[in-house]
């Protein structure tokens, strides 16, 4: 923009009474926009038979999703197809209203002319929302009447969902606040004025989609923590009748079987993370030895091939494990054909002995070459004059490594170490999932895998949520502790 944008007149900036309706309007528009994707706030779920996980958006656009548990009801025409279409239309109308309000909310960040135009939008949008809601109400009446006609009303669970009232409140609030804000924004005196917006708000609006995506996929899951306080079964609902407070938290300690499982899983987790931390110096050794090689071609060769395993998935690592260690794998056929050992047909993958060590070795095989890269670069960054000076003083190779290279790498290592201590409970589940079998499942199950097994495998949503919450909270505490230690020791934070 070549011209600086005129700020709003001073008296208008200062008046809180004028700005309050505007901010309430913006907040309401944002909340309404999010609620569109929020199934519990779906105003269109006027029958219990409509998919409980369908949001307003889904209800408006996906016939298949909302009707997927209606089979018989639709086939027998207990709910008419036309009513569902009407419902979808109504939902689209509500969404159109929300979009108008949202656009108005964005435009209200502009200069006076733009703000007035923006605030005019919800004055149309909110009534459109209202019309959509009335249409939903009309569909409700029609379904009710039709259900009575065919005498199956009890099977249909026709209801007015909470979301209906939520959106009614949104529509009213949006209309009212927008009207007040519109009236208090005087008409632009200068007829030649253009619609413009201050740069800070323009940049923010450009960023807004990214922020919303992050909000929905990284922050909204926290809303799922509520399952920890209810007796939730998949497909069921949560409400006052199955609220259990902290039952599941105490269940972890009061139920002997769960406590035993949890202790076993924690032992596995801590041992495997511990082994990982105990061998976390290996990449440094790898890097130091590699740096001692004179031929840069050899260095590059080794580096290229030892980093490949890092880029294949754990499923492929498992495929390779089968290929090498299974009954008909390389080890057995090598023993048979080359060493002429008879009866070599052990399936090493099925043996539960030394599982922790094996997992460590697979992890090392996959990761050590890659982890070494950062230290190799660290070594390249050490001032060569230090080595020259040391050699002049008669230091040999090992003294140089001990007194120059290693101290040079310690700061990087400390960061890595602190991060791995902070992540001591999260070893990920993929590796352990692919390598687990009936023999080793007791020793291989780590916390992440346990959460998956009880949550997704056994459908114990509430229990696994509790375990997950505890894990997240401990994890964030450890991270802050690690950060604090780092600040205290190195005067630099790691996050």
């Amino acid at each position: 923009m070549s011209t600086a944008i005129q700020a709003l007149p001073r008296e208008e900036r200062e008046s809180l009474g004028r700005r309050l309706p505007l901010w309430v309007f913006r907040a309401a528009a944002l909340l309404a926009g999010i609620s569109v994707f929020f199934p519990p706030a779906n105003p269109g779920r006027i029958s219990e038979k409509i998919n409980a996980s369908a949001s307003l958006f889904t209800t408006g656009v996906s016939y298949g999703t909302i009707t997927n548990s209606m089979g018989r009801i639709l086939r027998s025409q207990w709910i008419q197809d036309a009513d569902i279409k009407l419902l979808m239309l109504a939902c689209v109308a509500v969404m159109a209203g929300v979009i108008l309000c949202g656009a108005g909310g964005c435009m209200s960040l502009g200069n006076r002319k733009m703000r007035r135009a923006g605030l005019a939008l919800p004055l149309i949008g909110a009534p459109v929302m209202g019309a959509g809601l009335l249409l939903i109400r009309r569909t409700y009446d029609r379904m009710l009447a039709h259900g009575e006609e065919v005498g199956k009303l009890d099977k249909l669970g026709i209801m007015v969902p909470d979301g209906f009232w939520v959106f009614c409140a949104f529509a009213g609030l949006l209309f009212l606040t927008a009207l007040i804000a519109f009236l208090s924004t005087g008409k632009e005196a200068d007829p030649a004025a253009k619609m413009e917006m201050e740069e800070k708000y323009r940049l923010f609006l450009m960023m807004l989609p990214v922020i919303l995506l992050s909000l929905v996929f990284a922050y909204l899951p926290i809303w799922g923590w509520r399952f920890a306080f209810f007796d939730y079964t998949p497909g069921g609902s949560i409400g006052a009748d199955n609220y259990v407070g902290f039952k599941w938290f105490s269940f972890l300690f009061s139920d002997p079987a769960t406590t035993k499982d949890l202790l076993r899983v924690l032992r596995n987790t801590l041992v495997m993370s511990g082994l990982g931390i105990a061998t976390s110096w290996l990449p440094i050794a790898f890097a130091i030895l590699l740096a001692e090689m004179r031929s840069t071609k050899f260095q590059r060769f080794v580096q290229t091939f030892t980093t490949i395993p890092n880029f294949i998935s754990w499923v492929l690592v498992y495929a390779i494990a089968i290929c090498i260690f299974s009954t008909d794998g390389f080890v057995n056929s090598f023993l048979t054909n080359v060493m002429h050992v008879s009866g070599a047909n052990t399936n090493y993958l099925q043996i539960a002995d030394h599982t922790w060590l094996k997992m460590l070795l697979w992890g090392t095989w996959k990761g050590v070459g890659w982890s070494a890269i950062i230290y190799i670069a660290g070594i390249a960054g050490i001032d060569q004059q230090l080595y020259e000076a040391a050699k002049v003083d008669g230091a040999n190779r090992f003294r140089c490594i001990w007194h120059i290279t290693i101290p040079g790498l310690i700061p990087t290592y400390m960061v890595m170490l602190l991060m791995s201590i902070a992540g001591i409970l999260s070893n990920g589940m993929e590796q352990y999932l692919v390598f687990s079998n009936a023999m080793n499942k007791d020793v291989i199950e780590v916390l992440d895998l346990y959460v998956y097994n009880i949550g997704i495998g056994q459908n114990r949503i509430s229990l696994s949520t509790v375990v997950g919450i505890s894990k997240s909270l401990i994890g964030i505490t450890l991270l802050f502790a690690a950060n604090g230690i780092s600040k205290a020791i190195r005067g630099e934070s790691i996050i």
Partner: protein, 318 residues
């Protein structure tokens, strides 16, 4: 490198101890490199050898076929790869994986480039708050089950979009792009602004062309991640086997106790006998594995410098 040569002048004279040490280290690295490479090679030769020889464990170090008298001799065949088109469900998972790799990576790169540019803008309203808002998600997550319930709530189960949309905002990549853009001289941008270019235009004409190296780096990391994706498919696609990713499909093959050959439909072109020898579970497992490794092995040598650059940039704190 030049510095290094200069340094090595100082120890031209190697002692016997040096020789032993260096020889030992060379041997160590050769062995380790061999351990890293051999499994891939072994997998490969198992897929291009005669299947009977593979099942009887005769193929150890080089691909073998049966000669006229039925003895094993060096040779290569590609029938197993041709037979893959008859393996049920493989085609759809390859398509899904390719689609998510291309689309998911492209959208992730565009989003990261856009967000990474915007967060360098000091003028943005509450800039540092929003930046932290994005970055914090790297260190904290609500847990697997709440995440799953959230995806369920969003209608992103049994839905291809689940592979694409949640991955669009990658905070780590945003940090990388931001750090990179901050190293571009701001005078370039300023002069464009003076010439009247809008924010979008500056991004398109100046920032994007200049940040190609970092975008290539995050693209290649993103592509590998998408290609290797397994967990989201496992968790989210319960009722849509046609949307399983390649790794998920391979995981199922690796764990299926039933004969995979039975999963092959009767291909019209393959003779009964030839089909019989292909109905070998292990070999099909190996061949599918090879198919999912090959793209990475092909791309890797050309992209290695980007990978290395990526991890080095990551060492710079965001």
């Amino acid at each position: 490198m030049r510095k290094k040569e200069k340094a090595s002048v100082l120890h031209i004279r190697r002692t016997a101890g040096d020789w032993v040490f260096e020889a030992a280290v060379v041997v160590f690295f050769c062995v380790f490199t061999f351990i890293c490479v051999f499994p891939f090679y072994y997998l490969l030769i198992n897929t291009i050898s005669d299947n009977d020889l593979v099942t009887s464990g005769r193929v150890n170090f080089y691909p073998m076929l049966k000669d006229a008298e039925g003895r094993a001799a060096f040779g290569v065949q590609l029938n197993n790869y041709a037979a893959l088109r008859n393996v049920q469900d493989l085609g759809s998972s390859v398509l899904v994986t390719v689609a998510r790799t291309v689309l998911g990576t492209a959208l992730m790169v565009v989003t990261s480039a856009w967000a990474g540019y915007l967060v360098t803008k000091q003028k943005m309203w509450k800039r540092s708050f929003w930046y932290r808002f994005l970055v914090v998600t790297m260190y904290f997550n609500a847990g697997l089950v709440p995440w799953y319930m959230n995806m369920l709530m969003m209608g992103l189960t049994d839905n291809f979009l689940a592979y694409i949309i949640p991955g669009m905002v990658a905070p780590y990549n945003i940090i990388l792009v931001k750090t990179y853009i901050e190293s571009i001289p701001s005078s370039l941008e300023e002069s464009a602004v003076i010439d009247g270019a809008s924010t979008v235009k500056v991004w398109l004409r100046i920032i994007l062309p200049l940040s190609v190296p970092i975008l290539a780096t995050i693209a290649i990391f993103g592509a590998v991640g998408n290609w290797n994706s397994f967990q989201d498919s496992l968790l989210l696609m319960n009722n849509r086997p046609d949307l399983y990713t390649l790794q998920h499909r391979l995981y199922i093959y690796l764990n299926s106790s039933s004969n995979l050959g039975a999963m092959m439909s009767q291909g019209g072109t393959i003779s009964e006998q030839a089909a019989q020898s292909m109905l070998n579970q292990r070999v099909i497992q190996y061949t599918v594995s090879m198919v999912s490794i090959i793209p990475i092995l092909l791309v890797y040598p050309f992209m290695q410098r980007y990978f290395v650059k990526g991890i080095m940039l990551g060492a710079v704190k965001g």
